[in-house]
Protein backbone atom coordinates (compact mmCIF):
# COMPACT_ATOMS: atom_id res chain seq x y z
CA UNK A 1 0.00 0.00 0.00
CA UNK A 2 1.27 3.43 -0.92
CA UNK A 3 2.15 5.90 1.84
CA UNK A 4 -0.14 8.45 0.27
CA UNK A 5 -3.04 6.02 0.29
CA UNK A 6 -2.42 5.14 3.91
CA UNK A 7 -2.46 8.84 4.72
CA UNK A 8 -5.75 9.14 2.89
CA UNK A 9 -7.28 6.24 4.84
CA UNK A 10 -6.22 7.67 8.17
CA UNK A 11 -7.44 11.14 7.28
CA UNK A 12 -10.82 9.76 6.25
CA UNK A 13 -11.06 7.66 9.42
CA UNK A 14 -10.37 10.65 11.66
CA UNK A 15 -12.76 12.88 9.78
CA UNK A 16 -15.61 10.46 10.33
CA UNK A 17 -14.64 10.01 13.99
CA UNK A 18 -15.12 13.75 14.36
CA UNK A 19 -18.29 13.61 12.34
CA UNK A 20 -19.83 10.97 14.66
CA UNK A 21 -18.63 12.72 17.82
CA UNK A 22 -21.16 11.36 20.28
CA UNK A 23 -21.26 7.84 18.91
CA UNK A 24 -17.48 7.75 18.89
CA UNK A 25 -17.39 8.76 22.53
CA UNK A 26 -19.99 6.15 23.40
CA UNK A 27 -18.00 3.45 21.59
CA UNK A 28 -14.73 4.41 23.21
CA UNK A 29 -16.37 4.45 26.66
CA UNK A 30 -17.93 1.05 26.18
CA UNK A 31 -14.66 -0.45 25.06
CA UNK A 32 -12.88 1.25 27.95
CA UNK A 33 -15.39 -0.08 30.45
CA UNK A 34 -15.27 -3.61 29.05
CA UNK A 35 -11.52 -3.72 29.01
CA UNK A 36 -11.28 -2.11 32.43
CA UNK A 37 -13.36 -4.90 33.87
CA UNK A 38 -11.48 -7.49 31.86
CA UNK A 39 -8.24 -6.03 33.20
CA UNK A 40 -9.51 -5.95 36.75
CA UNK A 41 -10.47 -9.59 36.69
CA UNK A 42 -7.27 -10.53 34.97
CA UNK A 43 -5.21 -8.77 37.62
CA UNK A 44 -7.31 -10.30 40.37
CA UNK A 45 -7.06 -13.84 39.06
CA UNK A 46 -3.35 -13.59 38.41
CA UNK A 47 -2.74 -12.16 41.87
CA UNK A 48 -4.81 -14.82 43.58
CA UNK A 49 -2.89 -17.48 41.68
CA UNK A 50 0.35 -15.83 42.62
CA UNK A 51 -0.69 -15.65 46.26
CA UNK A 52 -1.74 -19.26 46.34
CA UNK A 53 1.49 -20.51 44.86
CA UNK A 54 3.63 -18.22 47.00
CA UNK A 55 1.92 -19.44 50.14
CA UNK A 56 2.23 -23.00 48.95
CA UNK A 57 5.95 -22.68 48.51
CA UNK A 58 6.37 -20.98 51.87
CA UNK A 59 4.32 -23.26 54.02
CA UNK A 60 5.68 -24.85 57.05
CA UNK A 61 4.09 -27.60 59.04
CA UNK A 62 3.00 -26.83 62.56
CA UNK A 63 3.26 -29.95 64.66
CA UNK A 64 1.25 -29.77 67.88
CA UNK A 65 2.31 -32.14 70.62
CA UNK A 66 0.23 -33.92 73.21
CA UNK A 67 0.15 -32.07 76.47
CA UNK A 68 1.64 -34.59 78.86
CA UNK A 69 4.93 -35.41 77.18
CA UNK A 70 8.21 -35.39 79.07
CA UNK A 71 11.21 -33.47 77.75
CA UNK A 72 12.83 -36.75 76.74
CA UNK A 73 9.82 -37.78 74.69
CA UNK A 74 9.62 -34.35 73.05
CA UNK A 75 13.23 -34.65 71.97
CA UNK A 76 12.55 -38.10 70.52
CA UNK A 77 9.63 -36.76 68.44
CA UNK A 78 11.98 -34.03 67.21
CA UNK A 79 14.58 -36.56 66.10
CA UNK A 80 12.03 -38.69 64.29
CA UNK A 81 10.68 -35.66 62.41
CA UNK A 82 14.19 -34.86 61.16
CA UNK A 83 14.34 -38.31 59.57
CA UNK A 84 11.22 -37.79 57.43
CA UNK A 85 12.24 -37.31 53.79
CA UNK A 86 12.32 -33.70 52.68
CA UNK A 87 12.46 -32.16 56.12
CA UNK A 88 15.21 -29.55 56.27
CA UNK A 89 14.57 -27.69 59.49
CA UNK A 90 12.86 -28.44 62.78
CA UNK A 91 12.36 -25.74 65.39
CA UNK A 92 10.89 -26.32 68.81
CA UNK A 93 8.40 -23.77 70.12
CA UNK A 94 7.39 -24.32 73.74
CA UNK A 95 4.02 -23.28 75.10
CA UNK A 96 5.35 -20.09 76.71
CA UNK A 97 6.99 -18.93 73.52
CA UNK A 98 3.81 -19.74 71.64
CA UNK A 99 1.75 -17.66 74.05
CA UNK A 100 4.17 -14.76 73.84
CA UNK A 101 3.97 -14.79 70.03
CA UNK A 102 0.21 -14.98 70.13
CA UNK A 103 0.08 -11.95 72.42
CA UNK A 104 2.31 -10.08 70.06
CA UNK A 105 0.13 -10.90 67.10
CA UNK A 106 -2.98 -9.70 68.90
CA UNK A 107 -1.26 -6.36 69.47
CA UNK A 108 -3.61 -3.85 71.06
CA UNK A 109 -6.23 -6.47 71.68
CA UNK A 110 -4.06 -8.64 73.97
CA UNK A 111 -6.27 -7.62 76.88
CA UNK A 112 -8.55 -10.38 75.66
CA UNK A 113 -6.10 -12.92 77.05
CA UNK A 114 -6.72 -11.71 80.61
CA UNK A 115 -9.68 -14.06 80.86
CA UNK A 116 -7.25 -16.96 80.69
CA UNK A 117 -5.66 -16.01 83.99
CA UNK A 118 -2.50 -18.01 84.52
CA UNK A 119 -3.42 -20.98 82.35
CA UNK A 120 -1.78 -21.44 78.95
CA UNK A 121 -4.04 -23.32 76.52
CA UNK A 122 -1.41 -23.53 73.79
CA UNK A 123 0.44 -26.80 73.20
CA UNK A 124 4.15 -27.36 72.73
CA UNK A 125 4.94 -27.47 69.06
CA UNK A 126 7.53 -28.01 66.35
CA UNK A 127 7.77 -25.87 63.24
CA UNK A 128 8.92 -28.01 60.35
CA UNK A 129 10.21 -26.77 57.02
CA UNK A 130 10.55 -28.99 53.95
CA UNK A 131 12.65 -28.54 50.84
CA UNK A 132 9.92 -28.63 48.15
CA UNK A 133 6.28 -27.52 48.23
CA UNK A 134 5.00 -30.84 46.94
CA UNK A 135 6.59 -32.61 49.92
CA UNK A 136 4.57 -30.59 52.43
CA UNK A 137 1.56 -32.82 52.34
CA UNK A 138 3.27 -36.25 52.63
CA UNK A 139 5.59 -34.94 55.32
CA UNK A 140 2.65 -33.59 57.33
CA UNK A 141 0.88 -36.94 57.03
CA UNK A 142 4.01 -38.79 58.20
CA UNK A 143 4.44 -36.45 61.17
CA UNK A 144 0.83 -36.92 62.20
CA UNK A 145 1.47 -40.69 62.52
CA UNK A 146 4.21 -40.21 65.09
CA UNK A 147 3.64 -41.11 68.69
CA UNK A 148 3.11 -38.08 70.91
CA UNK A 149 1.88 -35.85 68.08
CA UNK A 150 -1.59 -34.40 68.57
CA UNK A 151 -1.90 -33.18 65.02
CA UNK A 152 0.08 -31.65 62.18
CA UNK A 153 -1.30 -28.71 60.21
CA UNK A 154 -0.12 -26.81 57.24
CA UNK A 155 -1.71 -24.01 55.20
CA UNK A 156 -3.61 -26.49 53.06
CA UNK A 157 -7.06 -25.13 53.82
CA UNK A 158 -6.09 -21.57 53.06
CA UNK A 159 -4.42 -22.59 49.84
CA UNK A 160 -7.35 -24.67 48.75
CA UNK A 161 -9.72 -21.85 49.57
CA UNK A 162 -7.58 -19.49 47.57
CA UNK A 163 -7.71 -21.80 44.60
CA UNK A 164 -11.50 -22.12 44.88
CA UNK A 165 -11.79 -18.36 45.07
CA UNK A 166 -9.59 -18.01 42.02
CA UNK A 167 -11.79 -20.42 40.13
CA UNK A 168 -14.91 -18.51 41.06
CA UNK A 169 -13.47 -15.14 40.21
CA UNK A 170 -12.30 -16.55 36.91
CA UNK A 171 -15.79 -17.84 36.07
CA UNK A 172 -17.61 -14.65 36.99
CA UNK A 173 -14.96 -12.65 35.19
CA UNK A 174 -15.26 -14.75 32.08
CA UNK A 175 -19.03 -14.34 31.92
CA UNK A 176 -18.78 -10.59 32.43
CA UNK A 177 -16.01 -10.23 29.91
CA UNK A 178 -17.87 -12.13 27.22
CA UNK A 179 -20.94 -10.01 27.83
CA UNK A 180 -19.03 -6.75 27.78
CA UNK A 181 -16.97 -7.71 24.75
CA UNK A 182 -20.21 -8.39 22.88
CA UNK A 183 -21.57 -5.04 24.01
CA UNK A 184 -18.43 -3.30 22.79
CA UNK A 185 -18.59 -5.17 19.50
CA UNK A 186 -22.21 -4.18 19.07
CA UNK A 187 -21.72 -0.51 19.75
CA UNK A 188 -18.65 -0.25 17.53
CA UNK A 189 -20.41 -1.96 14.66
CA UNK A 190 -23.28 0.47 15.16
CA UNK A 191 -20.96 3.45 15.03
CA UNK A 192 -19.42 2.18 11.84
CA UNK A 193 -22.86 1.54 10.42
CA UNK A 194 -23.71 5.18 10.97
CA UNK A 195 -20.49 6.17 9.22
CA UNK A 196 -21.27 3.88 6.31
CA UNK A 197 -24.75 5.37 6.10
CA UNK A 198 -23.45 8.94 6.25
CA UNK A 199 -21.04 8.15 3.46
CA UNK A 200 -23.23 5.99 1.24
CA UNK A 201 -23.13 8.59 -1.52
CA UNK A 202 -19.37 8.73 -1.40
CA UNK A 203 -19.17 4.94 -1.34
CA UNK A 204 -21.45 4.78 -4.38
CA UNK A 205 -19.25 7.19 -6.32
CA UNK A 206 -16.14 5.31 -5.29
CA UNK A 207 -17.65 2.15 -6.70
CA UNK A 208 -18.58 3.83 -9.99
CA UNK A 209 -15.12 5.22 -10.55
CA UNK A 210 -13.49 1.86 -9.90
CA UNK A 211 -12.23 1.88 -6.32
CA UNK A 212 -11.56 -1.64 -5.07
CA UNK A 213 -13.57 -3.03 -2.17
CA UNK A 214 -10.47 -3.14 -0.01
CA UNK A 215 -9.83 0.53 -0.71
CA UNK A 216 -13.40 1.39 0.27
CA UNK A 217 -13.25 -0.70 3.43
CA UNK A 218 -9.93 0.46 4.88
CA UNK A 219 -11.03 3.83 6.32
CA UNK A 220 -13.91 2.14 8.14
CA UNK A 221 -11.65 -0.58 9.45
CA UNK A 222 -9.17 2.02 10.68
CA UNK A 223 -11.98 3.98 12.30
CA UNK A 224 -13.09 0.88 14.21
CA UNK A 225 -9.54 0.11 15.24
CA UNK A 226 -8.99 3.66 16.49
CA UNK A 227 -12.17 3.39 18.57
CA UNK A 228 -11.06 0.09 20.09
CA UNK A 229 -7.49 1.25 20.63
CA UNK A 230 -8.54 4.50 22.34
CA UNK A 231 -10.88 2.63 24.65
CA UNK A 232 -8.09 0.23 25.55
CA UNK A 233 -5.65 3.04 26.29
CA UNK A 234 -8.13 4.65 28.68
CA UNK A 235 -8.69 1.32 30.41
CA UNK A 236 -4.95 0.72 30.72
CA UNK A 237 -4.27 4.15 32.23
CA UNK A 238 -7.05 3.68 34.78
CA UNK A 239 -5.85 0.18 35.65
CA UNK A 240 -2.25 1.23 36.19
CA UNK A 241 -3.35 4.10 38.42
CA UNK A 242 -5.69 1.85 40.39
CA UNK A 243 -3.13 -0.92 40.82
CA UNK A 244 -0.48 1.52 41.98
CA UNK A 245 -2.85 3.00 44.53
CA UNK A 246 -4.06 -0.38 45.72
CA UNK A 247 -0.67 -2.03 46.07
CA UNK A 248 0.53 1.04 47.98
CA UNK A 249 -2.37 0.72 50.41
CA UNK A 250 -1.99 -3.01 50.81
CA UNK A 251 1.74 -2.92 51.41
CA UNK A 252 1.20 -0.40 54.19
CA UNK A 253 -1.40 -2.45 56.04
CA UNK A 254 -0.85 -6.06 55.07
CA UNK A 255 2.86 -6.44 54.59
CA UNK A 256 2.77 -10.18 54.25
CA UNK A 257 0.30 -10.29 51.34
CA UNK A 258 2.28 -11.40 48.30
CA UNK A 259 1.14 -9.25 45.35
CA UNK A 260 2.68 -9.38 41.91
CA UNK A 261 5.09 -6.45 41.50
CA UNK A 262 3.89 -3.73 39.09
CA UNK A 263 6.50 -4.23 36.40
CA UNK A 264 6.73 -6.03 34.07
CA UNK A 265 3.37 -7.51 35.08
CA UNK A 266 1.31 -4.44 34.13
CA UNK A 267 3.19 -4.04 30.88
CA UNK A 268 2.02 -7.48 29.76
CA UNK A 269 -1.54 -6.81 30.88
CA UNK A 270 -1.51 -3.48 29.03
CA UNK A 271 -0.26 -5.01 25.80
CA UNK A 272 -2.91 -7.69 26.04
CA UNK A 273 -5.70 -5.16 26.61
CA UNK A 274 -4.58 -2.88 23.80
CA UNK A 275 -4.40 -5.75 21.37
CA UNK A 276 -7.83 -6.95 22.54
CA UNK A 277 -9.34 -3.47 22.11
CA UNK A 278 -7.93 -3.03 18.62
CA UNK A 279 -9.14 -6.46 17.57
CA UNK A 280 -12.63 -5.77 18.93
CA UNK A 281 -12.66 -2.52 16.95
CA UNK A 282 -11.59 -4.18 13.72
CA UNK A 283 -14.09 -6.98 14.23
CA UNK A 284 -16.93 -4.56 14.97
CA UNK A 285 -16.37 -2.63 11.79
CA UNK A 286 -15.97 -5.80 9.73
CA UNK A 287 -19.37 -6.97 10.95
CA UNK A 288 -20.91 -3.67 9.94
CA UNK A 289 -19.24 -3.62 6.54
CA UNK A 290 -20.42 -7.16 5.81
CA UNK A 291 -23.98 -6.30 6.75
CA UNK A 292 -24.46 -2.77 5.52
CA UNK A 293 -22.14 -2.22 2.59
CA UNK A 294 -22.64 -4.61 -0.23
CA UNK A 295 -19.31 -4.15 -1.89
Amino acid sequence: MKVRTTEYFIREAFSSLRHNGLMSIASVSTVALSLLILGMFLIMVLNLNHMASTLESQVQISVYLQDNLKDQEIREVGTRITKIPGVVQVTFVDKDQALARFKQRLGEQQGLLAVLGDTNPLPNAFEVKVDKPERVKPAAQAVAQLKGVENARFGQEIIEQLFTLTKMVRLIGLALIVFLALAALFIISNTIRITVFARRKEIGIMKYVGATDAFIRWPFLIEGMILGFSGAVIAVVLLIEAYTLLTGQIYQKLVFLPLIPKYPFLTYVSILLIVAGTVIGALGSTISLKRFMKV
Binding site: K2, R4, T5, Y8, K201, E202, G204, I205, M206, K207, Y208, V209, G210, A211, T212, D213, F215, I216
Partner: protein, 228 residues
Protein backbone atom coordinates in the same frame (compact mmCIF):
# COMPACT_ATOMS: atom_id res chain seq x y z
CA UNK B 1 -15.72 -2.21 -27.79
CA UNK B 2 -19.22 -3.20 -26.62
CA UNK B 3 -20.63 -6.46 -27.83
CA UNK B 4 -23.99 -7.91 -26.80
CA UNK B 5 -25.39 -11.16 -28.13
CA UNK B 6 -28.76 -12.51 -27.09
CA UNK B 7 -28.74 -10.58 -23.81
CA UNK B 8 -31.81 -10.85 -21.60
CA UNK B 9 -32.46 -9.38 -18.21
CA UNK B 10 -35.26 -10.63 -16.02
CA UNK B 11 -35.44 -9.06 -12.57
CA UNK B 12 -36.03 -11.21 -9.53
CA UNK B 13 -39.64 -9.97 -9.34
CA UNK B 14 -40.22 -11.55 -12.77
CA UNK B 15 -40.36 -8.38 -14.86
CA UNK B 16 -38.59 -8.70 -18.18
CA UNK B 17 -36.47 -5.61 -18.76
CA UNK B 18 -34.53 -6.76 -21.83
CA UNK B 19 -34.98 -9.77 -24.06
CA UNK B 20 -32.61 -11.08 -26.67
CA UNK B 21 -30.66 -7.91 -27.32
CA UNK B 22 -27.79 -8.15 -29.80
CA UNK B 23 -25.81 -5.07 -30.59
CA UNK B 24 -22.24 -4.00 -31.34
CA UNK B 25 -20.85 -0.57 -30.56
CA UNK B 26 -17.42 0.17 -32.01
CA UNK B 27 -14.63 2.32 -30.74
CA UNK B 28 -15.35 5.99 -31.32
CA UNK B 29 -19.09 5.50 -31.86
CA UNK B 30 -21.59 7.99 -30.50
CA UNK B 31 -24.81 6.16 -29.69
CA UNK B 32 -28.14 7.34 -28.27
CA UNK B 33 -30.32 4.81 -26.51
CA UNK B 34 -33.92 6.01 -26.76
CA UNK B 35 -37.34 4.63 -26.00
CA UNK B 36 -40.38 5.10 -23.80
CA UNK B 37 -40.05 5.10 -20.01
CA UNK B 38 -39.68 1.61 -18.63
CA UNK B 39 -38.68 0.15 -22.00
CA UNK B 40 -35.30 -1.03 -20.71
CA UNK B 41 -32.95 1.90 -21.45
CA UNK B 42 -31.74 2.14 -17.89
CA UNK B 43 -31.20 -1.59 -17.61
CA UNK B 44 -29.22 -1.52 -20.85
CA UNK B 45 -26.97 1.18 -19.40
CA UNK B 46 -26.61 -0.59 -16.05
CA UNK B 47 -25.50 -3.82 -17.70
CA UNK B 48 -22.58 -1.99 -19.29
CA UNK B 49 -20.93 -1.10 -16.00
CA UNK B 50 -22.18 -4.21 -14.27
CA UNK B 51 -24.57 -2.53 -11.93
CA UNK B 52 -26.80 -5.37 -13.09
CA UNK B 53 -25.87 -8.80 -14.44
CA UNK B 54 -27.52 -10.19 -17.58
CA UNK B 55 -29.78 -13.17 -16.93
CA UNK B 56 -28.56 -14.78 -20.15
CA UNK B 57 -26.52 -13.91 -23.22
CA UNK B 58 -23.04 -12.68 -23.96
CA UNK B 59 -21.78 -9.24 -22.98
CA UNK B 60 -18.28 -7.90 -23.61
CA UNK B 61 -17.17 -4.41 -22.66
CA UNK B 62 -13.60 -3.30 -23.39
CA UNK B 63 -12.72 -6.93 -24.03
CA UNK B 64 -13.98 -8.09 -20.65
CA UNK B 65 -16.61 -10.77 -20.35
CA UNK B 66 -18.96 -8.77 -18.15
CA UNK B 67 -21.46 -11.59 -17.69
CA UNK B 68 -18.84 -13.75 -16.01
CA UNK B 69 -16.72 -11.11 -14.35
CA UNK B 70 -15.47 -11.89 -10.85
CA UNK B 71 -16.68 -9.31 -8.33
CA UNK B 72 -13.05 -8.47 -7.60
CA UNK B 73 -12.56 -7.48 -11.26
CA UNK B 74 -15.52 -5.09 -11.42
CA UNK B 75 -13.45 -2.08 -10.25
CA UNK B 76 -11.03 -2.65 -13.13
CA UNK B 77 -13.88 -2.81 -15.63
CA UNK B 78 -15.17 0.51 -14.29
CA UNK B 79 -11.79 2.20 -14.48
CA UNK B 80 -12.11 1.93 -18.24
CA UNK B 81 -15.55 3.57 -18.16
CA UNK B 82 -16.73 7.06 -17.31
CA UNK B 83 -20.25 7.23 -15.90
CA UNK B 84 -22.48 10.31 -15.86
CA UNK B 85 -25.87 10.39 -14.13
CA UNK B 86 -28.93 12.57 -14.41
CA UNK B 87 -28.54 13.73 -10.80
CA UNK B 88 -24.79 14.55 -11.11
CA UNK B 89 -23.84 12.70 -7.88
CA UNK B 90 -21.26 15.19 -6.68
CA UNK B 91 -20.04 15.28 -3.09
CA UNK B 92 -21.39 18.51 -1.56
CA UNK B 93 -18.60 18.82 1.02
CA UNK B 94 -15.81 18.69 -1.54
CA UNK B 95 -14.80 21.46 -3.93
CA UNK B 96 -15.03 21.10 -7.68
CA UNK B 97 -11.34 20.27 -7.81
CA UNK B 98 -11.66 17.70 -5.01
CA UNK B 99 -14.70 16.08 -6.59
CA UNK B 100 -12.80 15.46 -9.78
CA UNK B 101 -9.56 14.51 -8.03
CA UNK B 102 -11.51 12.02 -5.90
CA UNK B 103 -11.94 9.73 -8.92
CA UNK B 104 -8.17 9.56 -9.29
CA UNK B 105 -7.39 9.36 -5.60
CA UNK B 106 -9.50 6.28 -5.08
CA UNK B 107 -7.61 4.42 -7.77
CA UNK B 108 -4.34 5.54 -6.20
CA UNK B 109 -2.98 7.75 -8.96
CA UNK B 110 0.19 9.70 -8.17
CA UNK B 111 -0.44 13.18 -6.78
CA UNK B 112 1.42 15.04 -9.51
CA UNK B 113 -0.57 13.28 -12.19
CA UNK B 114 -3.80 14.08 -10.37
CA UNK B 115 -3.04 17.81 -10.39
CA UNK B 116 -2.18 17.78 -14.06
CA UNK B 117 -5.16 15.73 -15.17
CA UNK B 118 -7.74 17.52 -13.02
CA UNK B 119 -6.71 20.93 -14.32
CA UNK B 120 -6.74 19.56 -17.85
CA UNK B 121 -10.27 18.15 -17.66
CA UNK B 122 -11.59 21.23 -15.86
CA UNK B 123 -10.23 23.27 -18.78
CA UNK B 124 -11.98 20.91 -21.13
CA UNK B 125 -15.38 21.49 -19.51
CA UNK B 126 -14.63 25.19 -19.03
CA UNK B 127 -14.70 25.23 -15.23
CA UNK B 128 -11.08 25.75 -14.25
CA UNK B 129 -11.97 29.13 -12.73
CA UNK B 130 -14.49 27.44 -10.41
CA UNK B 131 -12.11 24.79 -9.11
CA UNK B 132 -12.37 26.04 -5.53
CA UNK B 133 -16.17 26.38 -5.50
CA UNK B 134 -18.49 23.91 -3.86
CA UNK B 135 -21.16 22.16 -5.95
CA UNK B 136 -23.91 23.93 -3.99
CA UNK B 137 -22.76 27.24 -5.48
CA UNK B 138 -22.92 26.05 -9.08
CA UNK B 139 -25.78 25.94 -11.58
CA UNK B 140 -27.15 22.59 -12.71
CA UNK B 141 -25.28 22.77 -15.99
CA UNK B 142 -22.03 23.55 -14.20
CA UNK B 143 -22.56 20.67 -11.82
CA UNK B 144 -23.09 18.30 -14.72
CA UNK B 145 -19.89 19.60 -16.30
CA UNK B 146 -18.04 18.79 -13.10
CA UNK B 147 -19.55 15.29 -13.19
CA UNK B 148 -18.38 14.91 -16.80
CA UNK B 149 -14.91 16.08 -15.84
CA UNK B 150 -14.87 13.43 -13.13
CA UNK B 151 -16.06 10.78 -15.59
CA UNK B 152 -13.28 11.47 -18.07
CA UNK B 153 -10.43 12.27 -15.70
CA UNK B 154 -9.20 8.67 -15.72
CA UNK B 155 -9.13 8.56 -19.53
CA UNK B 156 -11.92 6.03 -20.04
CA UNK B 157 -12.41 4.38 -23.42
CA UNK B 158 -16.20 4.57 -23.06
CA UNK B 159 -18.35 7.26 -21.47
CA UNK B 160 -21.76 6.04 -20.37
CA UNK B 161 -24.41 8.65 -19.59
CA UNK B 162 -27.87 7.99 -18.19
CA UNK B 163 -30.19 10.92 -18.99
CA UNK B 164 -27.40 13.47 -18.49
CA UNK B 165 -29.58 16.39 -19.63
CA UNK B 166 -32.72 15.27 -17.83
CA UNK B 167 -32.46 17.99 -15.20
CA UNK B 168 -31.23 20.78 -17.47
CA UNK B 169 -32.86 23.47 -19.63
CA UNK B 170 -32.45 23.23 -23.44
CA UNK B 171 -29.59 25.74 -23.78
CA UNK B 172 -27.59 24.09 -21.03
CA UNK B 173 -28.36 20.66 -22.48
CA UNK B 174 -26.92 21.78 -25.73
CA UNK B 175 -23.72 22.99 -24.04
CA UNK B 176 -23.38 19.64 -22.37
CA UNK B 177 -23.82 17.86 -25.70
CA UNK B 178 -21.08 20.00 -27.21
CA UNK B 179 -18.75 18.80 -24.46
CA UNK B 180 -19.69 15.17 -25.12
CA UNK B 181 -19.12 15.73 -28.81
CA UNK B 182 -15.63 17.08 -28.11
CA UNK B 183 -14.85 14.09 -25.90
CA UNK B 184 -16.11 11.75 -28.60
CA UNK B 185 -13.97 13.49 -31.25
CA UNK B 186 -10.92 12.72 -29.14
CA UNK B 187 -11.71 9.02 -29.66
CA UNK B 188 -13.86 8.15 -26.65
CA UNK B 189 -16.91 6.00 -27.29
CA UNK B 190 -20.18 7.60 -26.10
CA UNK B 191 -23.27 5.70 -25.04
CA UNK B 192 -26.12 7.88 -23.83
CA UNK B 193 -29.62 6.97 -22.73
CA UNK B 194 -31.90 9.96 -23.20
CA UNK B 195 -35.43 11.28 -23.44
CA UNK B 196 -34.29 14.51 -24.99
CA UNK B 197 -35.75 14.78 -28.52
CA UNK B 198 -34.02 18.06 -29.26
CA UNK B 199 -30.63 16.64 -28.38
CA UNK B 200 -31.04 13.45 -30.43
CA UNK B 201 -32.49 15.18 -33.47
CA UNK B 202 -29.87 17.90 -33.33
CA UNK B 203 -26.86 15.61 -33.07
CA UNK B 204 -27.76 13.24 -35.95
CA UNK B 205 -25.92 10.25 -34.54
CA UNK B 206 -26.59 6.54 -34.29
CA UNK B 207 -29.89 5.89 -32.49
CA UNK B 208 -30.87 2.59 -30.91
CA UNK B 209 -34.52 2.51 -29.86
CA UNK B 210 -35.59 0.01 -27.24
CA UNK B 211 -39.25 -0.83 -26.85
CA UNK B 212 -40.61 -3.42 -24.46
CA UNK B 213 -37.17 -4.81 -23.90
CA UNK B 214 -36.32 -5.31 -27.57
CA UNK B 215 -34.39 -3.31 -30.14
CA UNK B 216 -37.04 -1.63 -32.28
CA UNK B 217 -34.69 0.45 -34.43
CA UNK B 218 -30.95 0.91 -34.93
CA UNK B 219 -29.97 3.55 -37.46
CA UNK B 220 -27.11 5.91 -38.19
CA UNK B 221 -27.98 9.62 -38.19
CA UNK B 222 -31.33 8.72 -36.66
CA UNK B 223 -34.10 10.79 -35.14
CA UNK B 224 -35.63 10.55 -31.69
CA UNK B 225 -38.85 9.26 -33.25
CA UNK B 226 -41.20 9.73 -30.30
CA UNK B 227 -43.44 12.59 -29.25
CA UNK B 228 -41.57 14.41 -26.53
Amino acid sequence: MIHMAGVSKIYSNGSVALSDISVAIDKGDFVFIVGPSGAGKSTFIKLLFREELPTSGELYVNGRNVAELEPSEVPYLRRGLGIVFQDFRLLPNKTVYENVAFAMEVIESPRREIQKRVHHVLDLVGLRHKARNYPGHLSGGEQQRVAIARAIVNNPTVVIADEPTGNLDPDTSWEIMKIFERINKAGTTMVMATHDKMVVDGMKRRVIAIEQGRIARDQEGGQYGYES
